[in-house]
């Protein structure tokens, strides 16, 4: 389970950036993570498999 930045396109034929929020040092539930709390419109919790070419975000 991880937090990801929401998709902003549904075109599957285009390489879409898959951004995973870094929660390595976050010990609380993910739904309490600032990215979810502050911008639920931009982030979501996902149980999908993280693709190999995913990029990462240190949310500040």
């Amino acid at each position: 389970m991880h937090i990801r930045q929401k998709y902003n396109t549904t075109d599957k034929n285009i390489e879409i950036a898959y951004t995973v929020v870094i929660t390595t040092d976050w010990n609380l539930p993910l739904n309490q993570h600032p990215s979810i709390v502050e911008h639920p419109e931009l982030f979501e919790i996902s149980e999908d498999i993280i693709p190999e070419d995913a990029q990462y975000l240190n949310y500040i």
């Binding site: 930045q5 285009i14 950036a17 951004t19 070419d53 990029q55 990462y56 975000l57």
Partner: protein, 706 residues
């Protein structure tokens, strides 16, 4: 014999009386014997009884006597000649009826000459129907199906009869050396004699083969000679019983082979040969036609090679098809004769020009050699086959008189048309005796099949002749003209010499000559062996082994990286690009997102690597303050400068640029570097600055590798 029959009658009568009489009491007569003239017994006559052969009692030595063996059930009679002997009730002892008379009973066919002799040896019964030379017949009825006794006279016939029909073995001759088997159709339900049941006469004979017609052995097992080929039919067990006493044919039911051990090694047959094939009725017979693989009939008249010969000393194989002789010349061996078309001609008459400056055909009246080249109308050279031909001639020109220079023109004419550029002019000078001159040259000319060539001549003075001279010691005769024709390509076929490719040869020679000129090579005698040396010398190459001319290692370039002159060595060289496959980590509120186009391009010369990375997104990331992008996997590994080997130490400077989705370059200062990663097991680019909106990042960096 009549006496015995009388006694037997009396005894039987007395026995009958006794059988039906009442039991009686007899008065004993005790004397040793009584004699009377007649004795009539009304009731019962008892005879002396014994158990076994009777014994003589009293004076019966000279008289007859009767006695009964009550144990064995025999009636014995005594005669002086035979002693005690049984009176056999089966007929052996009475009557005078002979065998013929017995056979005649109930048989309307009376033939008193029938005699029957028989004996038994090894469970075989031999019956002869002959008691003299006049009755050579015998008839037997089989025991199957109620056959009857029949014979046919005067034919020598053995006839087997069953309930449906008869089978006859006819025509047995007087010597009884041949048995002809029956040929008529038989009933499959009958039990019939088979070939395997036929036995040869001991000591020879037994030849049942017919010289014509068909011999049916039994059932479906037949041998037919209607087509001149024996046809064997039948099961394996039937064939296993088949043999020829002369051992000419052996059929092996085990190996399935048919062999002819006595077949002569030489077959004299003047007819054509045909293979044996299996007929539709499973017989073996001559093929009547020859079929190709496609099933179509081909050449049914002369379809087989009937003879193969090789003439000793000759290099060919000769074979005959029908009446035609063919030869195959093999290519194995030495001294193959050249093939091609040629002709050699001359003329032994003196040729004159009746009118000056008039064209005449040079006469060639004598043919010395000819193969595809002939002479027509005494001067026209007919070439049957197209090709390149060499025309070589010589004319013995002489003056017969006059003075001053006289000219003879000689040229070639093709199909009646003068060939331009073929004329030669010969000048005869001096007196007649001093004038002889031989005009000779050649033409190489392409001709089509059946082209006609003609060597023409004309003279300015009718004193000029083409002179023929008889033999004068020591030289032989001088022909007036000699002309030879040789095909250029064909004449060399088979000799291992290929015709010259003059077109390419000239071109190649020109190239070689150009090289020679460029290399200033005048010593053509040694130029072939010294080319490499001379080229290397011209290029000042002393170590040619290090000169890679065609192929070098991957990602390399040949160069001299030293400060002095030296041979080139392999240096690293790479110029490549691709999809960026590193890991990207943003620091900000949102990362750039949407459609991406991440690429890289790098060029390496020696140990210096220049890399450019472009990360393009459709949507801006917001509040981006930092980007970490790892070095692409395909990039050469940076060498860590001394003292910069720890984690997160910046090892090479880089330039980074942020650009928004509206293509606006961020107007901020970015610190960009290539550094060791946190774990110090890899390398990454770091772009760091104030918060920015970012949709595109460009990074360029130059670093060194080992």
């Amino acid at each position: 014999m009549a006496k015995y029959k009388y006694i037997l009658t009396v005894i039987i009568t007395l026995c009958t009386i006794t059988t039906f009489a009442q039991p009686a009491q007899y008065t004993p007569m005790t004397a040793a014997g009584y004699q009377m003239k007649r004795l009539k017994v009304d009731s019962t006559l008892h005879l002396p009884s014994f158990c076994g052969v009777p014994t003589i009692l009293g004076s019966t030595a000279k008289e007859g006597a009767l006695a009964i063996d009550t144990c064995g059930g025999f009636l014995y009679m005594w005669t002086r000649t035979a002693g005690w002997d049984t009176v056999n009730t089966s007929g052996g002892g009475g009557g005078n009826q002979d065998l013929q008379s017995v056979l005649n009973i109930g048989n309307t066919s009376i033939n008193k000459d029938i005699s029957l002799y028989g004996k038994t040896i090894a469970n075989e019964v031999y019956i002869s129907g002959m008691d003299n030379n006049f009755m050579p017949f015998m008839a037997l009825g089989d025991s199957i199906g109620g056959g009857v006794y029949q014979y046919t006279y005067p034919q020598a016939t053995i006839e087997f009869i069953n309930k449906y029909m008869s089978q006859k073995l006819k025509g047995q001759d007087s010597t009884r050396s041949i048995i002809y088997l029956p040929v008529q159709t038989i009933d499959a339900t009958d039990t019939l004699a088979k070939l395997s049941d036929v036995r040869a006469v001991s000591g020879g004979g037994g030849d049942f083969w017919k010289t014509s017609g068909t011999t049916i052995l039994s059932g479906a097992d037949t041998i037919s000679s209607t087509t001149g080929i024996l046809v064997f039919q039948g099961g394996e067990e039937d064939m296993a019983k088949f043999s020829v006493s002369a051992n000419d044919i052996i059929l092996s039911p085990i190996s399935g082979s048919l062999t002819f051990p006595n077949l002569s090694s030489t077959i004299n047959d003047t007819s054509f040969y045909k293979p044996l094939v299996r007929g539709t009725d499973a017989s073996i017979r001559q093929a009547t036609s020859w079929y190709g693989g496609g099933g179509s009939t081909i050449d049914t008249t002369n379809q087989f090679v009937k003879r193969l010969d090789r003439t000793p000393g000759k290099d060919s194989i000769i074979y005959f098809v029908g009446g035609n002789r063919f030869a195959i010349k093999d290519s194995v061996g030495t001294n193959p004769a050249p093939v091609g078309y040629y002709g050699a001609f001359q003329d032994t008459t003196t040729q004159t020009a009746l009118v000056i400056n008039t064209a005449y055909g040079v006469k060639l009246g004598v043919t010395d050699l000819t193969n595809g080249v002939t002479i027509a109308n005494n001067s026209k050279i007919k070439i049957a086959n197209a090709g390149i031909y060499n025309i070589q001639f010589s004319l013995q020109l002489e003056k017969t008189g006059g003075s001053g220079n006289m000219i003879a023109d000689i040229w070639l004419r093709k199909n009646g048309v003068n060939l331009q550029g073929t004329t030669g002019k010969v000048v005869l000078t001096g007196s007649a005796n001093a004038s002889p001159v031989v005009a000779a040259w050649n033409y190489v000319i392409a001709v089509s099949s059946n082209d006609s060539l003609e060597l023409m001549w004309a003279t300015s003075n009718d004193n000029v002749v083409i002179k023929a001279t008889p033999a004068t010691s020591p030289h032989p005769s001088i022909p007036s003209s000699i002309l030879t024709v040789t095909q250029q390509s064909g004449i060399m076929a088979g000799t291992g010499i290929s015709p010259l490719d003059t077109a390419n040869m000239l071109s190649n020679y020109a190239r070689i000559n150009l090289v020679n000129t460029k290399l200033n090579i005048s010593d053509t005698a040694t130029m072939l062996s010294s080319y490499s040396t001379r080229i290397n010398g011209k290029l000042n190459i002393s170590d040619t082994s290090a000169l890679q001319r065609k192929s070098i290692s991957a990602y390399s370039i040949m160069a001299n990286k030293t400060s002095a002159s030296a041979n080139v060595t392999a240096q690293s060289f790479r110029d490549t690009s691709g999809v960026y496959d590193g890991t990207i980590t943003w620091t900000g509120t949102t990362a750039p997102s949407g459609a991406t186009n991440h690429t890289y391009r790098l060029t390496q010369v020696g140990k210096c690597v220049t890399i450019n990375i472009s990360l393009l997104y459709a949507t801006n990331g917001t509040a981006i303050s930092k980007l970490i992008a790892t070095l692409p996997s395909n990039a050469p590994t940076p060498v860590q400068p001394t003292g910069l080997t720890s984690a997160l130490q910046n090892i090479y400077v880089a330039n980074g640029q942020y650009i928004t989705s509206t293509n606006t370059t961020a107007n901020t200062i970015l610190r960009t570097t290539l550094r060791n990663n946190t774990s110090n097991n890899g390398f990454e680019f770091l772009i760091e600055g104030v918060s920015n909106t970012v949709a595109q990042v460009n990074i360029i960096c130059q670093y060194w590798t080992n």
